[in-house]
C-alpha cells in the first residue's frame, strides 16, 4: 500500500520534472555534468521507516521526559540530514559521456556504453544506472576519484533503422540508504540497426541474375580458394592446397568458382522476386552482402535510387548495410 503510494509519488515527480525542467525533455549531447539542478532526492522506503522511528523516539522522549532521549532523537535526525547531503554528493558532479555505439542487426542487442567520470576528489560508491523504464536497475558501479567507469546498457532490437536509446536514470542510496538521489540523462547518440539477415536465403546470385541458386559455377573456372564452409561438397574441396597446409592444421579449404563469366555480383533490390515484400527483400540483400563479404567477392548494390559500385571491404559493407537499414526511412540522412 505504502509502496504503491510512493510509486505514485515518484511517477508524479517524474512527470512533473519533465514539465518544469527545460532540459529534461531534450537530448544531452557530448559530455554532461550532473549539476545540482539535475539531481533529485527523496527519502527511500527505509528513510520513511527512519522518519517513523524518529517520531517514536521524539514522543518517547517527551512522554517520559528523557533529556538524553531528545539528544538521541536529534542526533539521529541530524545523521539522516547529513546522509541526505552525502547521498546528493555521491551523485552530483559526475560526468557522463556516451561511448561508441556499434551497429547491430535487428534481433540482436545494442550495447550503449555509458562512461561515468569522476573528476572530483570524492570516491563514489554504489551508483546504479539503467534505463528509466526498468523497474529495478541492473547495473551498479563504483567510481574512484579521478577514475572512469563504463556501464554497458543493452537494448533489444526488433526493426531496422535508427534506434534512440531510452532515457537513462542514474541513482544512488549511498551512504546510509535513507535517501535515493537520481538524475536523468538522454544520451544523444543513436544506434544503427541493420535489417535482420534472412535465414536460409538462396545462394548469391553469382550469374548476375536473381534466384539462380545453382549458379555456383562450372567446375572449370577456379578463381581461388576460401575457407571451408559447411555445405561444401567433397568435390569442392581444394585438396592440393589442404595438403600444402599440412595435416596438423586441420584446416579445410574449398575451391572458389568464378561463375557467370566473371561478371560482377550485382545485388539488386528491384531484381528480387515480386512476391517478397520490402522487408523480406532487404533481409535477403543483407544476407547476400554478408555472404559476399565473407567470400571476399566484390559486389554492387542497387537499392532504388541508391547505387553502390562493386567493391568489397568493411567500409563498403558498412555503407551498403547502412543504406539497407535506412531504406525508405524519412530520416535516411
Amino acid at each position: 500500500m505504502a509502496g504503491a503510494r510512493i510509486g505514485q509519488l515518484r511517477g508524479w515527480i517524474r512527470r512533473a520534472s519533465g514539465a518544469w525542467l527545460p532540459r529534461a525533455g531534450r537530448l544531452d549531447s557530448g559530455e554532461v555534468l550532473i549539476s545540482q539542478r539535475r539531481v533529485f532526492i527523496l527519502p527511500s522506503k527505509a528513510g520513511l521507516g527512519f522518519a517513523l522511528l524518529l517520531l517514536v523516539l521524539l514522543i518517547g522522549s517527551i512522554n517520559y521526559g528523557l533529556g538524553l532521549g531528545f539528544g538521541l532523537t536529534f542526533l539521529a535526525l541530524s545523521c539522516a540530514l547529513v546522509d541526505m547531503v552525502a547521498t546528493y554528493r555521491n551523485l552530483a558532479h559526475l560526468r557522463l559521456q556516451q561511448g561508441r555505439v556499434a551497429p547491430v542487426f535487428a534481433g540482436e542487442e545494442v550495447r550503449f556504453e555509458l562512461q561515468v567520470a569522476n573528476r572530483t576528489g570524492l570516491a563514489r560508491y554504489g551508483v546504479w544506472a539503467d534505463f528509466s523504464d526498468v523497474a529495478e536497475p541492473r547495473h551498479v558501479t563504483d567510481v574512484a576519484p579521478g577514475a572512469e567507469a563504463t556501464v554497458v546498457l543493452t537494448v533489444p532490437t526488433v526493426t531496422r533503422g535508427w534506434l534512440t536509446p531510452p532515457r537513462v536514470t542514474l541513482s544512488t542510496s549511498f551512504p546510509l540508504g535513507l535517501f535515493r538521489a537520481w538524475s536523468h540523462w538522454r544520451p544523444a547518440a543513436r544506434a544503427l540497426v541493420y535489417p535482420r539477415p534472412e535465414d536460409g536465403a538462396p545462394a548469391l546470385p553469382l550469374s548476375g541474375g536473381a534466384g539462380n541458386s545453382l549458379a555456383l559455377g562450372g567446375n572449370d573456372d577456379v578463381a581461388g580458394v576460401r575457407n571451408y564452409q559447411p555445405g561444401d561438397t567433397l568435390r569442392q574441396l581444394a585438396w592440393r592446397q589442404i595438403a600444402r597446409l599440412g595435416a596438423d592444421s586441420g584446416q579445410l579449404l574449398s575451391k572458389q568458382f568464378e561463375g557467370g563469366g566473371g561478371a560482377d555480383l550485382l545485388l539488386d533490390y528491384a531484381a528480387l522476386p515480386m512476391q517478397l515484400d520490402s522487408e523480406q527483400r532487404l533481409a535477403r540483400l543483407t544476407r547476400w552482402v554478408l555472404d559476399a563479404e565473407s567470400r571476399a567477392l566484390p559486389y554492387a548494390l542497387r537499392l532504388g535510387g541508391v547505387r553502390f559500385d562493386a567493391a568489397s571491404g568493411p567500409a563498403h559493407q558498412a555503407a551498403c548495410l547502412r543504406a539497407l537499414a535506412l531504406y525508405g526511412m524519412p530520416e535516411a540522412a
Binding site: 549531447s29 557530448g30 559530455e31 527505509a46 521507516g49 527512519f50 522511528l53 517514536v56 523516539l57 514522543i59 518517547g60 522522549s61 517527551i62 512522554n63 517520559y64 521526559g65 528523557l66 533529556g67 538524553l68 532521549g69 531528545f70 539528544g71 538521541l72 532523537t73 536529534f74 542526533l75 539521529a76 535526525l77 541530524s78 545523521c79 540530514l81 547529513v82 546522509d83 552525502a86 560508491y125 554504489g126 546504479w128 551498479v140 558501479t141 563504483d142 542510496s173 549511498f174 551512504p175 546510509l176 540508504g177
Partner: protein, 671 residues
C-alpha cells in the same frame, strides 16, 4: 617439493579475511551487543543469559557458514521467552516488561534476517533500544555509550550499502565518525531550539519514578536506616546569596501527627487560615528536584509562598507541607523564598490543639507516666527543656544500627536501649511532650546539604533525611525542636557522616579515609568528588532538565545578545561573505563571449563538425576551413568568428565593446 607453510593466521587477520557478508553480520552483532549490554543491569539474569547465548549462536552460524535455524525451532523458544517475561514481571505490558520484550525481539531478529530490509529493521530497533536504556540511567557515561553505539550502528548500516569494493573497516568507521561529526552541531542546535513541552502527551504505563525511593508518608522508628545510607541526591539547591548555616537547613517535608503506637502518620486537616509572621532577611534559592514517586515539594523552613513548580499544581497544607497534585516523576526546577526566622500560630490558644495531643491507648505506660509527671512544671517551655536535658544527660547514643524494638517502642527506647537515630528521638520526644500536655508533632524532611565549592550548588541526599519535632507554646507558636541535636549535635551541624562512627570499608582500617561520608578525610578525593558532582549537576541542569522554562531563558538570553551590536556585525559579515562568494562565482562563471563560442561549436557540431574535447579554437578553425560540405558563406563566417574569438581569448584583454555583437552577427550567418 615442500611448500613453505604460511604462518598461522591470527584471529584478527582471520577476521579481516572473512567474506564480506560475514564480516558485515559480525559488525551488526557487535553493534547490537553494544546497545543490548547496558540493559543487562536491569534485566532478569535469564534474559541476559538467553540474549548472550543467542548472539553467540548467531556468531557461530556466521563463522561456520551454517544455515539459519528454521521457524519451527525459533517459535517455541520465542513463546517460552514470552512466558518467562510474564513469569518474571507478572505482565507483558508496562515499561520494564516492554523493554525486556524489545531486547528479546532484537536478539531473535538476528536469527531471522534474510533480506536487506531486515537489516534496517534491526538497526532501527537498536536505536529504539538505546532510547529505552535512558529509562534507567541518563548519566554522562550513558551519553558517551550512546555516542559510541550510534557510531557503530552507522558504520554497520554503511557497510551494508556498498555494492562493489568495500573500504577496510577503519575507513568505514572514519566515514561514520565524519557523519557524526557533521551531525553533532546540528543536533546541538536542535536540542537548544526545538520547542519543549511538558510531557507526557498521554500517560504511559510506569513512567520514570516508579519504584524509586523517596521520603515516605509515615514513620515507624527503625524504617529509615536504609534510607540514611543512600547517597542518592534528592535535590540540588542554588542560593542567590550566601547560603545559611548548616544548622538552619531544615527542608520541610511531611508532618506526622497521628501515632498508633508503632507508626506515625499524617493527619488529614481542613484548610484554614494560618497566622504566620516572618522576620530576618529572606533567602532566595532555586531547587532542582530529582524525579521520584513522591509528591512532596521541599523548601526551607519556612517558605513565604507556595513555589511554582512547572507542570504541577502545588498545594500548601495547614501543617505547612508543600504537596504536588501528582507524583513528581520528572525532574523539576522551582524558585522559592524562605525565612529561617519566623513565627507560626503565635496566639494565646491553638484552635486545633487536641489533635496534637492525642496518644494511643495502652502503649508505652512508663513514658506516659513520666510525661504526666512533667505537668508539675508550670511552664510548658520547662517541660520541653526537661526532656531535652534527659536525652543529653543520660547515656543516649546516636547510631544508625539500633537494636530492634518491640511493642512499646518509646518505653523500650527511652528506658532500655537508649540507642537510635532521629526517628527514635523525634518519636520519643513528641510522645513525651504530648503526655506532658504540650501540643507536639513530628516533622520529616531533610536536614543539611553539601555545598560544592566548584559550582556553588548544594546537594541534598537521601542520607540527609531527618525527623525532628515541633511543639506549640502559647505566645510563641510552633517551635522547632530537634531532639537528635541534644544527643548528637554534630549530626545537625556537620551532617550524618560526622556523627556516626562507621566501620572502615571492607574492615580495613587503612581505608577509613576513603569513607564516602567523610568529606574532609582525603583532600584530593573530596576534590575529585566535588568535580564529578559539579559535572553531574551541570549535566542535569542543562541536558536532562532542559525544561520549557529553561529553554525560554536560554533563547531570550540569546536573542537579547543577538539583537545588540553583535547582530549587526554578524549580518554585515554574512552579507560581505555572500557578496564576495557571488563575485567569485561570477568570475568562475561563463563569460558571454565563451557562451557564444559554445553555441557556435554546437551549431558546427550539428553540421557534422564536432569539436573534440581537447581541440583549441585555432585547430578547430583549421578543420572547419578544410571541411568540404560547409556552405562557403557559413565557412567564412565561422572562420572569422573563430579568429576573433581566438584573439580575444589568448591576447591581452582588449576593450572592444562591440565584440559580442559582432560575434552574434557572425554566428547568425553560420547555417
Amino acid at each position: 617439493m615442500t611448500a613453505a607453510k604460511p604462518p598461522a593466521p591470527g584471529a584478527l587477520s582471520r577476521l579481516a579475511r572473512l567474506p564480506r557478508d560475514k564480516a558485515d553480520t559480525l559488525l551488526l552483532l557487535a553493534s547490537a551487543l553494544l546497545v543490548l549490554a547496558p540493559h543487562a543491569l536491569h534485566l532478569p539474569l535469564w534474559v541476559s543469559l538467553l540474549c548472550g547465548a543467542t548472539l553467540a549462536w548467531r556468531a557461530a552460524i556466521t563463522l561456520r557458514g551454517k544455515r539459519m535455524p528454521r521457524a519451527i525451532v525459533l517459535l517455541p523458544i520465542a513463546v517460552a521467552a514470552m512466558a518467562g517475561i510474564q513469569f518474571s514481571y507478572d505482565t507483558l505490558l508496562g515499561k520494564d516488561a516492554g523493554v525486556a520484550m524489545l531486547v528479546l525481539l532484537v536478539t531473535f531478529k538476528m536469527l531471522e534476517m534474510h533480506a536487506r530490509r531486515d537489516l534496517f529493521v534491526v538497526v532501527f530497533l537498536c536505536f529504539f533500544l538505546a532510547l529505552t536504556n535512558f529509562f534507567y540511567t541518563q548519566g554522562i557515561g550513558t551519553a558517551l555509550l550512546m555516542l559510541v553505539s550510534i557510531w557503530m550502528l552507522l558504520a554497520t548500516q554503511l557497510s551494508f550499502q556498498f555494492t562493489g569494493s568495500v573500504p577496510p573497516l577503519r575507513a568505514r568507521l572514519g566515514m561514520a565518525a565524519r557523519t557524526l561529526a557533521f551531525a553533532a552541531p546540528v543536533a546541538i542546535v536542535m536540542f537548544v531550539v526545538f520547542p519543549r513541552i511538558h510531557g507526557p502527551l498521554w500517560s504511559m504505563p510506569g513512567g520514570p519514578g516508579a519504584g524509586m525511593t523517596g521520603l515516605s508518608d509515615d514513620m515507624a522508628p527503625g524504617q529509615m536506616s536504609s534510607l540514611a545510607l543512600s547517597e542518592e541526591p534528592v535535590f540540588r539547591v542554588q542560593f542567590f546569596g550566601p547560603a545559611p548555616d548548616k544548622a538552619d537547613l531544615y527542608w520541610r517535608g511531611p508532618v506526622l501527627g497521628a501515632f498508633d503506637g508503632l507508626t506515625w502518620t499524617r493527619v488529614p486537616e481542613q484548610a484554614r487560615k494560618l497566622h504566620m509572621s516572618v522576620g530576618a532577611p529572606a533567602l532566595d534559592y532555586e531547587v532542582t528536584l530529582e524525579p521520584s514517586s513522591s509528591r512532596w515539594v521541599f523548601a526551607l523552613e519556612l517558605p513565604r509562598a507556595r513555589p511554582d513548580v512547572p507542570g504541577y499544581r502545588v498545594r500548601e497544607t495547614p501543617s505547612l507541607e508543600l504537596a504536588a497534585d501528582k507524583p513528581l516523576a520528572t525532574r523539576v526546577r522551582y524558585r522559592a523564598t524562605s525565612h529561617t526566622a519566623y513565627t507560626l500560630e503565635r496566639g494565646a490558644v491553638l484552635p486545633d490543639a487536641e489533635r496534637w495531643l492525642l496518644l494511643p491507648y495502652g502503649f508505652n505506660p512508663r513514658a506516659l507516666a513520666e510525661g504526666r509527671a512533667l505537668r508539675g512544671l508550670s511552664a510548658p517551655a520547662q517541660r520541653v527543656q526537661a526532656v531535652l536535658d534527659k536525652f543529653a544527660g543520660e547515656r543516649f547514643s546516636y547510631t544508625l544500627e539500633p537494636p530492634r524494638l518491640g511493642r512499646d517502642t518509646v518505653d523500650e527506647f527511652v528506658y532500655g536501649t537508649q540507642a537510635g537515630f532521629c526517628e527514635h528521638y523525634a518519636s520519643a520526644f513528641v510522645f513525651l511532650m504530648r503526655a506532658a500536655g504540650v501540643p507536639a508533632r513530628v516533622v520529616t524532611g531533610y536536614q543539611g546539604g553539601e555545598i560544592n565549592p566548584l559550582d556553588g550548588f548544594m546537594t541534598v541526599r537521601q542520607s540527609d533525611a531527618h525527623a525532628w519535632a515541633e511543639v506549640w507554646l502559647a505566645g510563641l507558636g510552633w517551635i522547632r525542636i530537634d531532639p537528635t541535636a541534644a544527643v548528637a549535635p554534630e549530626r545537625v551541624q556537620r551532617g550524618l557522616g560526622a556523627s556516626v562512627s562507621r566501620p572502615p570499608p571492607f574492615g580495613i582500617e587503612a581505608l577509613r579515609g576513603v569513607n564516602p561520608f567523610s568529606a574532609g578525610g582525603n583532600a584530593w578525593l573530596a576534590q575529585l568528588r566535588n568535580g564529578v558532582n559539579a559535572m553531574n549537576n551541570g549535566w542535569n541542569q542543562w541536558v536532562l532538565n532542559y525544561t520549557p522554562e529553561r529553554q525560554r531563558g536560554v533563547l531570550q538570553g540569546l536573542l537579547q545578545n543577538l539583537f545588540g551590536w553583535q547582530l549587526a556585525v554578524v549580518l554585515m559579515a554574512t552579507a560581505g561573505v555572500w557578496l564576495l562568494s557571488k563575485f567569485l562565482r561570477a568570475r568562475r562563471g561563463i563569460h558571454p563571449v565563451d557562451a557564444l563560442y559554445s553555441t557556435l561549436c554546437k551549431r558546427l557540431g550539428q553540421l557534422g563538425l564536432v569539436r573534440a574535447q581537447d581541440e583549441g579554437p585555432s585547430a578547430y578553425a583549421a578543420r572547419v576551413g578544410g571541411a568540404p560540405h560547409l556552405a562557403p558563406q557559413s565557412r567564412a563566417a565561422a572562420l572569422e568568428f573563430l579568429r576573433r574569438y581566438s584573439s580575444w581569448r589568448y591576447a591581452p584583454p582588449s576593450a572592444d565593446p562591440r565584440l559580442t555583437a559582432t560575434l552574434k552577427s557572425l554566428l547568425s550567418q553560420v547555417r
